[in-house]
């Protein structure tokens, strides 16, 4: 990690445009203005409540509801979704689960974290975590690698006795992401992020600015990454400079120091 910082500093000296790198290297946007965090959740992909990364969204719901939120994730980020469900005072054992879907509604695997957890009878709350794979800027069409765009969180109870259906619960979710940086930088990029309805949205916006409903109007705080920056530029530049230095060193080794003795003065 230190080397990244050193290299970033070097990049600064080189005068490279490091603004995006600096912005990227903070672990997650510090935009946790919980004052305006959503206090509701949607009940389907279409009605999913949009949240920002670093925001704690809450929702009052009933056991058995399917709660949906959506958040933006950009290339190079590894999002971690955390959900806490406060359960009613008396209840039987029940299993809760979070699922994460990408902008194409494909289920995304969790690398680790307790995605499903069973709360024992009477437990006060249950906590769930899902650490997604690193979001890549591009992947082949046949792969289901995470790509920049909208991600959906679905929180629900998967195993519950009928007697507990409909009991009030309080859910909260939060998404933070770790910046993986240049090691995850790939060639290529999507022309448009995987935001559902993006093809429908753009022409309408030009015609009228009326607040018509869109499937997803999600965007990271500082916009989608353009995809050209990665710390690979710094590594490669420094590598090139070092190679040049080593070349000069190698050359000098063969030539010895100073003027060769055999050469007469004035030659």
């Amino acid at each position: 990690m230190r080397i990244t910082r050193v290299l970033s500093a070097t990049a600064l000296m080189f005068g490279l445009a490091v603004a995006p790198a600096v912005a990227d290297s903070s672990p997650s946007p510090s935009a946790s203005q919980d004052g305006d965090a959503p206090t509701q959740a949607g009940t389907s992909f279409r009605t999913a409540t949009e949240i920002e990364q670093g925001q704690t969204a809450t929702a009052g719901a009933s056991t058995g509801d399917y709660l949906y939120w959506s958040f933006p994730a950009d290339a190079g980020q590894r999002p971690t979704v955390k959900a806490t469900v406060k359960l009613p005072d008396t209840h039987a054992a029940e299993s809760w689960q979070i699922d994460v879907y990408d902008g194409l509604r494909r289920r995304q695997a969790c690398q680790y974290g307790a995605q499903t957890r069973t709360a024992a009878a009477g437990a006060a709350s249950v906590e769930l975590t899902c650490v997604l794979r690193t979001v890549r800027a591009w992947s082949e069409q046949w792969a289901n690698d995470p790509l920049p765009g909208t991600y959906y969180i679905r929180l629900t109870v998967v195993d519950v006795p009928t007697s507990d259906l409909g009991l009030p619960v309080d859910a909260s979710v939060r998404v933070d992401s770790k910046d993986i940086g240049g090691s995850a930088a790939v060639d290529g990029s999507l022309a448009e992020p995987l935001v559902p309805g993006v093809a429908v949205k753009s022409p309408e916006d030009e015609e009228s600015s009326s607040a018509s409903a869109v499937l997803s109007s999600i965007e990271p705080e500082d916009g989608w990454a353009s995809g050209w920056w990665s710390d690979r530029w710094v590594w490669t530049a420094i590598g090139g400079a070092l190679a040049a230095l080593a070349g000069v060193g190698g050359y000098a080794l063969t030539r010895g120091s100073g003027r060769p003795r055999q050469v007469p003065p004035g030659a």
């Binding site: 509701q40 009940t43 992909f45 279409r46 009605t47 009052g60 009933s62 058995g64 509801d65 399917y66 879907y101 902008g103 194409l104 509604r105 494909r106 289920r107 591009w138 069409q141 629900t156 109870v157 998967v158 195993d159 009928t162 259906l165 409909g166 009030p168 090691s183 930088a185 790939v186 060639d187 290529g188 999507l190 022309a191 448009e192 559902p196 309805g197 093809a199 429908v200 499937l215 995809g227 050209w228 990665s230 710390d231 690979r232 530029w233 590594w235 490669t236 420094i238 590598g239 090139g240 070092l242 230095l245 080593a246 070349g247 000069v248 190698g250 050359y251 080794l253 063969t254 055999q262």
Partner: protein, 422 residues
């Protein structure tokens, strides 16, 4: 003769154009707000059992009235709210009459809070619990308009009007494709009521809440009314064909369809060169289904060659199962002039199976999103721009540079030596 006719037609056309010109703008703007306004119908159970005094020491009816007053105060301006009762008027024992007892207490429309409150105040617990017929009528109340539609059903007892299963009714209403959601609230529910109300809710993608306190009731109904006010994209109904050749052509947008068990649905999308097709599909389990299920979305050429597929499988309790695919179509450089867009066939099949004794028609609701966007350029390397990173890269570069320096040095020494000998 001909000239006169032409003149007459011309005058008529001119008049029509003028009238349209005058009439249209005013009408259009008024229609737009009413047509897209969200509509909510509160359906309240006023059956005899609502007299029971078990919600915070007061009767269920009193709790409901109190909650309604709060809700009516908090209803957003744009929501068109109506109130329907069930079991409010017929106190007798005749089941047939009792099961028809549902009435509109306050019509769906712009809300006059005082009037609505007065109407609610008159309610007294009376008769039967005909949930099914009330839902049907409520769906009629909400008919028309483009906005989201929601029924909030508040009941304290299961339907007493078998054989019309309210759950089936809810499914039929959902199958009409009018985008209606039914949320249910059970007042101090027992197991049977829970089952019935959550079945109704699940059939339409709604929620079920069990209520034991007055404030919970008001909060929940408020939340549901607010939810109705949120703008949502309304999907367009379409009907997929059983083969690609007959399939409907879809543009970018959101669509719904129904797919029966074991059926397959085909759609077609035109993808021009240099564009990317993005399609995702969700199949909702709106009834009791067996616990293992799957969904397959295939993109094929018109000749049937598979291009790419999206698949999903799951087991256990779920509302939907969904999957999607991407098909970026590369720009072709060797072809000159306009190239006709490629027609891609989309095939949707799900492998849900109905639990025993569950009706299989209408089919399960499908939701299909199609986006055709500018495509990306193909990537030529795994790493970004072919750049490298890491200590191995630095080492390799330094070594290569050093060796190059050495070779260069030896070369020039040799050249100097050759030059000196000559």
């Amino acid at each position: 003769m001909i000239r006169t006719q032409r003149l007459a037609v011309g005058v008529c056309a001119l008049l029509a154009a003028l009238t349209a010109g005058i009439a249209f703008p005013a009408g259009a703007s008024a229609d737009e707000t009413t047509a897209t306004a969200p509509k909510v119908d509160l359906v309240i159970d006023v059956s005899g059992s609502m007299r029971a005094k078990d919600i915070d020491g007061q009767s269920r009816m009193a709790a409901a009235k109190q909650a309604f007053n709060e809700v009516l105060d908090a209803t957003p301006e744009e929501v068109r709210l109506g109130i329907r009762t069930l079991g409010a008027n017929y106190p007798g024992d005749d089941r047939k009459t009792g099961c028809k007892d549902t009435a509109q207490l306050y019509p769906v429309g712009p809300l006059d809070r005082t009037e609505a409150k007065t109407a609610v105040a008159t309610l007294t617990p009376t008769g039967w619990t005909p949930i099914g017929p009330a839902l049907l009528k409520a769906a009629e109340d909400l008919d028309g308009g483009e906005g989201s539609k929601r029924i909030v059903l508040i009941s304290d007892g299961e339907d007493t009007c078998a054989p019309l299963d309210p759950c089936e009714v809810a499914r039929e209403i959902a199958a009409k494709g009018i985008g209606l959601t039914i949320d249910t609230l059970g007042l101090v529910p027992n197991t049977k009521l829970r089952q019935q109300l959550s079945c109704i809710a699940e059939a339409t993608g709604g929620t079920f809440t069990s209520v034991e306190h007055t404030d919970e009731l008001a909060d929940k109904v408020n939340q549901l009314v607010d939810r109705a006010a949120d703008p949502v994209v309304t999907p367009v109904a379409t009907t997929g064909a059983d083969q690609c050749a007959k399939a409907p052509m879809l543009q970018s947008g959101l669509y719904t369809d129904r797919e029966e068990f074991g059926q397959q649905r085909w759609y077609r999308v035109n993808v021009p060169d240099g564009h990317e097709l993005r399609a995702s599909v969700s199949a909702a389990a709106d009834r009791q289904v067996n616990p293992s299920y799957g969904l397959l979305l295939r993109a094929t050429t018109e000749r049937g060659r598979e291009i790419v597929r999206g698949e999903a499988a799951g087991n256990g309790r779920t509302d939907v199962i969904s999957t999607g695919l991407r098909y970026p179509k590369a720009e072709r450089e060797d072809v000159e002039g306009e190239v006709a867009p490629e027609t891609v066939c989309l095939q949707v099949t799900h492998s849900f199976s109905a639990a025993s004794g569950v009706k299989t028609t209408p089919g399960l609701p499908l939701e299909l999103t199609v986006d055709v966007v500018e495509g990306p350029s193909a990537a030529s390397d795994v790493a970004a721009f072919g750049l490298g990173r890491g200590w191995w890269l630095l080492g390799a570069l330094i070594l290569a540079g050093f060796l190059a320096g050495l070779v260069w040095g030896w070369l020039s020494r040799w050249r100097v030596a050759v030059w000196r000998t000559n």
